[in-house]
């Protein structure tokens, strides 16, 4: 019996590696505010308690993270110079912040001093030193309430990242672009980038969060977005990391009364990708739009889990995710909508559509509605299909080649998501990579 207790106390070697890395990171990092240290401590304990998720857990049923769990990723150090060619701005931004392997890289960033008065795009580590009171009310406040091993792991290694602050009543018209470059070191390294966006009351901004990388890097990203009352934020997450990369990301939104938030999740890169979007509509009259486009080829696995939590009355949410899957790629879509007892007059609409370009591609799509109010409108729909043979023949009969016809139909499928991308250079860029990355068809 005593022996058994002894065994239970033992930590699996997989977790032990991260615990050791955690202790190592504590020794290396500059002193942090006490509340940060406490948040990290509770996060590592949470991670140790949870361990890596298995497919026995409902939210991970179709996505095995074994390829991540079985590897020993060292904490990446990051060389900014190496990332320079990858970290060019895309959106003609007003300011461009760059993070390399989770560390803010001022030398690669540009125009941070050109922002309107009060608007800040700064490194998180620097912010914790120079203005901790600015970030303390927000940082890790959303993410810590979640029971995700990966989010906990990110918080446990919290050190640096990017903070975007839009003061109340300030309107930033041009996009703010943040590039996260993940460069794999040695036989594979992990980074835990962190993004914090705080949009004050009645402010407006567009933020492009772009993930690029090299090699079999493991990016474990967390973004927290605080949307003030009547604020308007357009958030774009464009992920085009290397084909060998692992990408796990959580985005947490807290929206206040009358806010308008739209998210555009655009996934192209990575071998194993998981995006969690968790939006809490915590005030009346919030409008939340979640757009998603994911393109898989080869043996990519792309998993999108979204949760929209209607906590207060009179909020609307509109969600459209579309996937284009070729070769042996796989995708998972799980869209959860919670309507709390208080949240009368909720109007929620969710759609997931997938286009399978090969017999071996597949998707598991699932809506999950938890409705506790009685005067609400909630609709959901999923459609999975192949390219329309009749349409293919019609286009070819007019002289368009197979590849051209296919591209035309795929673009048409993705069209409504692309058309909602309001940053023009980004939309043009996306049309280009959609064509370039078009999965093969037998």
């Amino acid at each position: 019996m005593a022996q058994l207790v002894e065994q239970e106390k033992q930590v699996s070697p997989r977790l032990a590696h991260y615990l050791a890395e955690y202790r190592r990171s504590l020794e290396q990092a500059a002193p942090q505010p006490r509340w940060v240290a406490l948040a990290r401590e509770s996060a590592i304990a949470q991670f140790e308690g949870l361990g890596f998720p298995t497919t026995k857990i409902e939210q991970w049923r179709f996505t095995s993270v074994e390829p991540i769990a079985e590897r020993t990723f060292a904490l990446a150090a990051g060389s900014a110079a190496q990332a320079a060619p990858l970290a060019q701005p895309l959106s003609n931004p007003i300011a461009h912040g760059v993070c390399v392997n989770g560390r803010f890289a001022p030398q690669l960033s540009s125009n941070l001093d050109k922002l309107p008065k009060g608007v800040q795009v700064i490194g998180l580590e620097a912010a914790l030193v120079s203005q901790p009171s600015l970030v303390e009310p927000y940082l890790a406040k959303l993410s810590l309430t979640q029971t995700s091993a990966f989010t906990s792991l990110n918080t446990a290694f919290l050190r640096d990242g990017v903070v975007v602050v839009i003061p109340a009543h300030v309107v930033v018209e041009q996009p703010i672009e943040i590039t996260f470059a993940s460069i794999s070191e040695g036989s594979g390294s992990v980074s835990h980038p962190r993004l914090l966006i705080v949009a004050g009351e009645a402010s407006q901004a567009t933020v492009l969060e772009r993930h690029v990388g090299q090699g079999a890097a493991f990016t474990n990203a967390v973004a927290e977005v605080w949307l003030g009352a009547s604020a308007v934020v357009d958030h774009y997450k464009l992920q085009e990391e290397a084909a060998e990369a692992f990408h796990i990301a959580g985005m947490f939104l807290h929206a206040a009364r009358g806010g308008t938030f739209s998210s555009h999740s655009l996934t192209f890169g990575g071998r194993l990708v998981r995006n969690d979007v968790i939006a809490t509509l915590d005030g009346e009259g919030i409008d939340c739009t979640l757009n998603g486009l994911y393109v898989g080829r080869g043996t990519q696995l792309i998993d999108n889990h979204t949760t929209i939590d209607h906590a207060k009355p009179h909020c609307g949410s509109h969600e459209v995710y579309k996937g284009i899957l070729g070769d042996q790629s796989r995708a998972v879509f799980n869209g959860k909508i919670i309507v709390r007892p208080d949240a009368q007059k909720t109007d929620a609409k969710q759609t997931n559509k997938a286009l399978l370009l090969s017999d071996e591609a597949n998707i598991n799509s699932k809506p999950e509605l938890e409705i506790f109010a009685n005067d609400v409108k909630c609709t959901h729909g999923a459609a999975i299909g192949q390219l329309d043979d009749a349409a293919m023949f019609y286009l070819r009969s007019r002289g368009l080649g197979v590849a051209e016809s296919r591209a035309m139909l795929v673009h048409a499928f993705a069209g409504d998501i692309l058309n909602r991308v309001k940053i023009e250079p980004v939309r043009t860029y996306l049309e280009g990579i959609l064509t370039a990355r078009l999965p093969h068809v037998e």
Binding site: D388, D389, A390, A391, F393, Y394, L395, R396, S397, R398, G399, L400, G401, V402, E404, S405, M408, L409, H411, A412, F413, G415, D416
Partner: protein, 251 residues
């Protein structure tokens, strides 16, 4: 221009075309008539290269080339056009964008310079005027939400823009009211030229009041059972298809 010899096509376990022989010279308009299920649409689809058509015998020579060897897109690029009986709706693909891509794919194949946006729009305006087509159709998705008549007119419009050498119209008249039928016929007549051959496939003689064919063929049970001048169509209208069966043609 087009020489079909002993063409045989199977659909499932059934022989649909059982030895079609047909020669169409440039400048000619041929009408192919026949009852439902006689194989009319199968013939059109075989000429356009529909992937579900299984040719089990015979040859089709088009301008000296083996047409059956060509992919559907290469047939189009060589100048073959089929107006669909049921034009396909393609949501999300803009009509003008599609047609510009199509004409430029064909021009590229023929070694001609591609049309730029200005040149293309000028061409479209000219052709739309001839066909009395509402130009706003161009900015809508291909056939999506079009009425039956609009779809058929859009087919003829595409034909006018693409200017094929051989046009095959598969029951373009079906389901059209008299105004739409006249408009379609007018469009086809505009296209008549000494350099172009047109094959009109129809169930009814009505269309041939407006498009005067040089030759009329009757297709029955997968074979052309009778050929003649335009009067043949009138006889058919009067006496019905049963008349052919009752009076075998003297060869």
């Amino acid at each position: 221009m087009l020489e079909i010899k002993n063409l045989q096509v199977r659909g499932g376990t059934k022989d649909i075309l059982r030895g079609i022989n047909l020669t169409v010279n440039k400048g000619e308009v041929h009408a192919i008539m026949g009852p439902n299920g006689s194989g009319k649409s199968t013939l059109a689809r075989a000429l356009a290269g529909h992937p579900e058509i299984e040719v089990t015998g015979g040859t089709v020579t088009y301008n000296g080339k083996d047409l059956l060897e060509l992919s559907p897109e290469d047939r189009a690029r060589e100048g073959v056009f089929m107006a669909f009986q049921y034009p396909v709706e393609i949501p999300g693909v803009n009509n003008a964008y599609f047609l510009k891509a199509a004409i430029n794919a064909q021009r590229k194949y023929r070694g001609l310079p591609e049309l730029d946006a200005m040149e293309f729009m000028a061409l479209v305006k000219e052709k739309a005027k001839i066909l009395h087509l509402d130009p706003s159709l161009m900015s809508r998705p291909v056939n999506e939400g079009f009425s039956g008549g609009e779809k058929k007119r859009n087919e003829i419009f595409q034909m006018a823009v693409l200017e094929p050498k051989l046009a095959v119209l598969d029951e373009t008249d079906s389901g059209l009211d008299i105004d739409a039928l006249k408009a379609v016929a007018e469009g086809v007549n505009e296209m008549r030229s000494p350099e172009r051959a047109i094959v009109v496939i129809t169930h009814y003689q009505r269309l041939l009041n407006y498009i005067e064919p040089d030759v009329v063929h009757v297709l029955q049970d997968g074979r052309i059972v009778r050929s003649g001048g335009k009067d043949l169509a009138l006889h058919l209208e009067e006496k019905g298809y049963g008349w052919i069966e009752a009076e075998p043609q003297l060869m």
